[in-house]
Symmetry: C2
Subunit: 126 residues, 2 copies
């Protein structure tokens, strides 16, 4: 968590941070606001269905577009749009091409929620 100080002291340029990594579906922490993290993630392809029992999850598209699949509908999102998945609601992000996304979620939130499995990651600060 050595980056913590950096983030608290300096401004963050989203584009510059996104240029620092290329893996998909692996959120990176770029800021903390009380008990919340600001994370950046790149999506391409399909993620897994999951839900967060007690945590709402905010997705803002900063570049590209992707779709949040819910069990009863789809929410297509493009640059400059956000969607908040309410706690308890199953969802699956899907991106046909690379999308760059800013997340806001509790520090306790795990990327795969209740699903767990191989795609679970512990995010690093960048």
């Amino acid at each position: 968590m050595a980056g913590g100080q950096v983030t608290r002291e300096d401004k963050v340029n989203l584009e510059e941070k996104f240029a620092r990594f290329s893996e998909y579906w692996k959120p990176k922490i770029v800021g903390e606001v009380n008990d919340f993290y600001i994370k950046l993630v790149k999506f391409e392809g399909e993620f897994v269905w999951h839900r967060h029992e007690d945590e709402d999850e905010f997705f803002l598209v900063t570049k590209g577009e992707f779709t949040i699949q819910l069990r009863d509908r789809e929410v297509p999102l493009r640059e400059g749009e956000f969607f908040i998945v309410p706690r308890g609601v199953e969802h699956k992000p899907v991106a046909r091409k690379e999308a760059q996304v800013m997340l806001i979620e509790r520090k306790s939130t795990v990327n795969t929620g209740d699903a767990g499995g191989a795609r679970t990651v512990v995010p690093d600060w960048i």
Copy 2:
């Protein structure tokens, strides 16, 4: 708080929401993520020096540019950049021209912090 349901159900387009209001320094709520609000605000001119004792405050520029003055330095921010003012740190936003800004802060956060006064507002949902 009638807009609450809308925000929880629908995606939000930032540009469309910013088009709904024109006053400066009056944050509007556009989403909630657990005990945090997502707010939009337009800055032009100078705000007041203040601090939030227990609450960090996140500022992301979505259009234009502005500067966060701290007691010991200035943090100029342009589109696609964010800065988190740590709790307890005095700050004053200043914008020479209109800037559009997305805030993330606890529901308890008051725009004027410890300063209070005439520029204090209770934000509405839009």
